[in-house]
Symmetry: C2
Subunit: 260 residues, 2 copies
């Protein structure tokens, strides 16, 4: 049986803070044909709200230490402000968006990360994606829009990295669909030289990645995206790209494709 194609698109919270970028994204995503799922972040706004409320954000290796108060903040920002802004924006452009956290319809269950030398608090690592439940929503004509929250199935919400959620959704759907995972950001792709927007690396495989890492050519924020990309490909995801939103409409002059 020929599998249906699906695109899993991840955007960073930066898109929500820049009207022009957001407009470009809306057009590109709404005009994308076929099945699609959106995953979004919102970390910058969460840190801003934390500070406004007198809570100092604590980050380790780019990950938020999430105590009960910080979980309230990210829940408000990710599932509230960011998710509903995107859903209403996409609806206004004819895309039948349906906003979700992993708790909704029990679509993404996670395990609270055990405390080791670092205790991340209420942070979860994805345990199970309900691909059948997600298929039900896709078949009904909805476009799922996921924020970066999951749950443990016993009443506890968990903060979960949006890049990881995108990879886990791609992996979970790959037995049923031909999956393309796209990490969209403000740049044209992974850059060899961050100060040169033209230095896009067209193709990265694990060996190349090791070399680039040794050279210090990969920015710290890009490393988890690349690990997630390799993880997704190893689990059967068909294609992974890192690049601009123009990728969604097939009009990107440049982008980075990740290979095994």
């Amino acid at each position: 049986m020929v599998k249906q194609k699906i695109g899993i698109i991840k955007i960073g919270g930066a898109f929500l803070e820049d009207e022009k970028l957001l407009e470009t994204f809306y057009s590109a995503f709404a005009s994308m044909e076929g099945l699609k799922v959106l995953v979004h972040g919102g970390g910058k706004r969460a840190s801003k709200l934390s500070i406004d409320l007198g809570i100092t954000p604590q980050m380790v290796h780019g990950r938020r230490i999430t105590d009960a108060k910080s979980l309230e903040v990210v829940t408000m920002v990710y599932a509230g402000w960011a998710n509903k802004t995107l859903v209403a924006g996409l609806q206004g452009r004819g895309c039948n968006a349906l906003g979700l956290s992993g708790a909704d319809a029990n679509l993404i269950r996670a395990l609270k990360r055990p405390a080791s030398d670092i205790d991340y608090g209420l942070v979860g690592d994805v345990e199970r994606v309900d691909a059948d439940g997600l298929s039900t929503l896709l078949n009904a004509g909805f476009t799922p829009v996921f924020c970066a929250l999951t749950h443990d199935g016993r009443g506890q919400l968990l903060n979960t990295n949006a890049d990881s959620i995108a990879a886990d959704l791609a992996m979970g759907l790959s037995p049923l669909y031909e999956v393309k995972l796209v990490y969209c950001f403000e740049k044209q792709g992974v850059l060899r030289d961050v100060s040169d927007p033209e230095s896009v690396i067209p193709r990265i495989d694990p060996d190349h990645f090791k070399t680039l890492q040794k050279e210090g050519a990969i920015s710290e924020g890009m490393i988890p995206k690349l690990f997630n990309s390799f993880r997704a490909l190893q689990a059967g995801v068909d294609q992974v790209y890192i690049g601009p939103v123009s990728l969604l409409s097939g009009q990107a002059p440049k982008s980075t494709q990740i290979h095994l």
Copy 2:
């Protein structure tokens, strides 16, 4: 054709601020048999967050004047914190909850209330409920959990009273289902004397309501609930109750039934 039964249950935000009340609600709602939809508020927490952020909440006749900043606040509180807390809590009790705003899947479209002597700002009055879309979700086994937000279909979220949303959902579903609408709160029902929890009025019809209003026996917060109840019954909703959560499991010793 015999219509399937459905319960539309509305709870106030006060349930979310009281662990014991919330626990009682979870048990009652999760054990309710048949199709059900939850609608929740969150106004107290929204006012608290506003104040914490240096925004003074402005209320007229119990309704929030919603400027752009206040809309961000209610979106964070209603669709974020309140909605996802309830969804995760219900999931932990075996209820397959799916959190929604009216923008999600375009389920509730509203019209921005025109400014007259009062300009409520980004506040919407329900224009259309997509009963078929909602049926799709119900038939798939999900329990919709609505927060008090709608959209205008052109990209704008709108703050919408939760009591009204519950009535509009009940009305929208009544051609397809036998609908029971229940306004749950901390008391046993509509009280003749607010200081006497035993003074529950078992039955109110429009004439009785007028008399009670003249006598000043109805609290100001209860009046819109009663107007919404009459509106729902006139539009074909089968039953409307105001009372405690024990109503959901059929174990309330007292409650108020609204009649035409």
